[in-house]
Symmetry: C2
Subunit: 160 residues, 2 copies
C-alpha cells in the first residue's frame, strides 16, 4: 500500500517517464497522442495537485490550442478513458495517474488546506465488490476519496 504525492522524488524524470509511457501505450493501441492531449497530460504532471478543466483550458488558450471548453474536456475525456488521468469528484478536478495501466482501484487523499492530492492503492474495491454482491449490484467503477490534512499541513496546523 503505497502513496505517491506527499513524498519527494525526481519530478522531472517522473514527468518524462509518464509521457513516454503514454506515448508508447498510444502507439501500441493505435491511439492518437495529439499535441493537445500531450500538453494537457504535461500540465497535470507538473505537480501533484488537481487542476480544474478551466485551469487547463486557460493554459491551452495561452498556447493557442483553441479557446472553448470542449478543447479541454475532450482531451481530459481521452486521458481519463485511457487511464492516464483521474477525475477527483470531490474537487471537480483532474489529476495525472500515478500508476498508469497498472491495474488498480485508486484512492485519493485530498488536503483541504493546501490542495495537494496523493494517490494510493487500497483493496477497497474488494470490499465494495463484496457489499455489492450481497445486494446484487454490479460495479463498473469505484470512487474512493478521503479529505483531510496532509502531513505538512497537519504539523503546521499543530503549531498554530
Amino acid at each position: 500500500m503505497d502513496a505517491v504525492g506527499f513524498d519527494k522524488h525526481d519530478h522531472s524524470a517522473c514527468i518524462d517517464d509518464m509521457i513516454a509511457v503514454a506515448e508508447a501505450y498510444c502507439v501500441a493501441n493505435k491511439l492518437q497522442f495529439t499535441p493537445t492531449r500531450r500538453r494537457v497530460l504535461e500540465f497535470l504532471l507538473e505537480d501533484h495537485r488537481a487542476l480544474g478543466a478551466y485551469d487547463i483550458l486557460e493554459r491551452l488558450v495561452e498556447e493557442g490550442h483553441g479557446s472553448q471548453p470542449p478543447v479541454a474536456y475532450r482531451a481530459l475525456d481521452f486521458l481519463v478513458k485511457h487511464g492516464f488521468v483521474h477525475k477527483i469528484e470531490r474537487l471537480n478536478a483532474y489529476i495525472a495517474c500515478a500508476h498508469p495501466h497498472e491495474k488498480h482501484s485508486p484512492a485519493f487523499m485530498i488536503c483541504r488546506l493546501c490542495g495537494s492530492v496523493a494517490e494510493a492503492s487500497t483493496p477497497a474495491k474488494k470490499l465494495l465488490d463484496q457489499a455489492a454482491k450481497d445486494v446484487g449490484f454490479n460495479i463498473e467503477c469505484t470512487i474512493v476519496e478521503a479529505e483531510g490534512l496532509c502531513p505538512k499541513c497537519t504539523t503546521e496546523g499543530a503549531s498554530v
Copy 2:
C-alpha cells in the same frame, strides 16, 4: 453489511421515522428544524434517488419558500452537516441518509441506468485509515461511491 435502497419496505413509515429522528435530534441539540429544512428532508426521503440542488429548489419555489439557489443550498448544508443527508459527489446530487447518526462511513451504489442509489456500510474507512497512516495523512471524511448496474437493471439488461 447491509444496504438500503434496492429492497422493498414500508416507505411511508420510513419517511415518518426519519423525520421523527431528525426532529428529536434537533431538539436534543438545540438546532432549528425549520420548515424549509424539514421539507427538503421530506423531498429527499420520498424515494431512494439522489436529487440535484436545483430539483429541490424548484419544489421549494412551488411551495413559496424563497426563489434563489441559496435557499436550497443552505438547507442542504444544514442537513449534510448534521448527518441527515449525504452528497453523492459523482452525481452532484443529494440523498437522505439511511442510517442517521449511527456512526458510519457510508458507501453508495449508483445505478447508471435508472439512477437509483443505495447506501451500504463498509469497513472502507478502516482500510483508508491504514493507508493514510502509512503516509501521515489525517482523514476527516471519506467518499466511497460505486457506479454500475442495480439488480433490476442488470437483469433487464441481460434480456435485451
